[in-house]
């Protein structure tokens, strides 16, 4: 599982950590039942405060992606599969967009218009 943060970004660090975990779950890098690294280890590796990681884990727990257990730490839940499905759909969407000759910005604009 790759966790990447950019301290220069406007997005809060705990959001960036959570986003990395979300992507790892969607990509199948971590599967339901897998343990995430202990918050203290992850914080040390990323050179951030341990509370930043704990906040990210709490956010992911609220989203239903992970469970926080007393002894085993953060464990990926079964519900995380939803993300995998979403990821598959996005993959199809990108393939279709490529075939139609759309570049990423155009596809992005299309999605944004839908959301609005």
């Amino acid at each position: 599982m790759l966790v990447r943060i950019d301290p220069a970004s406007k997005v809060p660090l705990f959001e960036q950590v959570a986003a990395s975990v979300r992507r790892a779950v969607a990509d199948g890098d971590v599967r339901p039942g897998d343990q995430l690294p202990p918050a203290r280890t992850l914080a040390a590796s990323l050179e951030v405060n341990v509370h930043t990681v704990l906040r990210a884990y709490a956010l992911l727990r609220d989203e239903g992606l992970i469970e926080l257990r007393r002894r085993r730490g953060a464990v990926v839940t079964g519900g995380a599969e939803t993300w995998a499905r979403l990821h598959g759909l996005v993959g199809e969407l990108v393939t279709e967009a490529r075939r139609a000759g759309l570049d990423p910005d155009e596809l992005n604009a299309l999605i944004r218009r839908r959301y609005a």
């Binding site: 599982m1 790759l2 990447r4 943060i5 950019d6 690294p37």
Partner: protein, 328 residues
């Protein structure tokens, strides 16, 4: 490339051929001073206890030398073709092996020199010195003549190395590993056999025997069933087993670059912490399949069997790049 190939052939075929030529010339020169048959085998006390005709041992040893030389040359050329490392001393070893029969011929004939019959042949002692010394010279020449070719893989241009596109200022860490549940369960048959013996009434199995079999089995398989690796800006850490032992930390400063590769099931000769004394490579191996390959600045490599190693290799390369471009 042709020059490299010529030097390999010179070491693996040329030197044994020179040795064979020398042996043949000596055999002809000594022809009238040799008994026939000659002593070819010596007992533990140094007394000759076996004989063969001069022509038989000459032909047999030349055939053996020729076959070994062809084998060595083929192995070296195949290794070169496949991009594996061809090491100088390995060519020396091939030259030694192929020159050994010729050296054996010379030393055998030398021991028989001037003897009335094969039973009067000299002690094996000095012949042995001649045999080892002569073949050692061939080994040395082979190593001197032979080229040292580093492994092609990993030594290529840096353009196609894995990368995760880590931008300057970004921080990242990768956590991963692998498990091998089959390996963890591999000790279970041992106590099962004891139970079977006990139930069949073949023998009364005492309780302590179960402990003797089960406890070390559990400990060893626990140590070998799980592997975790962490990549961050300090380097790469590898921890094996449920206890995290053995563990190793490779500082980023020691690493030249990283790749993702597939490891054959027996590529490192088994499971566990494997060290190849020839290449200096180390493997933390739980299974065959995808592995992170770290090429160290010392020229050695470290293999770690982790699932999906591409990101790990990419992150190591990007961190190395970040390090080399960062202002001190």
């Amino acid at each position: 490339m042709t020059q490299v190939r010529a030097r390999i052939l010179l070491a693996t075929l040329g030197i044994p051929a020179v040795a064979a030529g020398l042996a043949g010339w000596l055999r002809l020169r000594w022809a009238d001073r040799l008994p026939d048959p000659v002593a070819v085998h010596w007992g533990a006390g140094g007394e000759p206890d076996g004989a063969a005709s001069v022509d038989t041992i000459t032909v047999a040893l030349f055939c053996a030398g020729g076959a070994l030389a062809l084998l060595g040359a083929t192995l070296a050329l195949v290794a070169l073709r496949r991009g594996a490392a061809v090491l100088r001393w390995l060519l020396g070893f091939y030259a030694w092996l192929a020159a050994l029969p010729s050296a054996a011929l010379v030393s055998t004939l030398w021991a028989n020199l001037g003897a009335e019959s094969w039973r009067a042949a000299a002690d094996a002692g000095w012949s042995l010195v001649l045999l080892l010394g002569g073949s050692a010279v061939a080994a040395l020449l082979g190593a001197l003549v032979g080229p040292s070719v580093p492994a092609r893989r990993g030594a290529g241009e840096g353009g196609d190395r894995p990368s995760i596109g880590l931008a300057p200022g970004q921080r990242a860490t990768w956590t991963g590993g692998s498990t091998n549940r089959w390996l963890a369960a591999s000790f279970l048959p041992a106590p099962a056999v004891l139970v079977a013996i006990d139930l069949a009434g073949a023998a009364d199995v005492p309780l302590f025997l179960y402990l003797v079999v089960t406890v070390p089995g559990l400990a060893i398989t626990a140590a070998l069933s799980r592997l975790r690796a962490v990549v961050d800006s300090t380097g790469v850490s590898v921890r094996m087993g449920w206890f995290g032992l053995p563990r190793r930390h490779l500082p980023l400063a020691d690493i030249a670059h990283a790749d993702a590769d597939r490891l054959g099931m027996l590529a490192m000769g088994g499971f566990g912490v494997r060290v190849n004394p020839v290449t200096g490579d180390t493997g933390y191996v739980l299974r065959g399949g995808p592995a992170l390959v770290l090429s160290l600045r010392s020229g050695r490599r470290v293999f770690v069997t982790v699932d999906r190693p591409e990101q790990a290799a990419g992150l190591v390369n990007d961190l190395l790049h970040q390090r080399s471009t960062a202002p001190e």
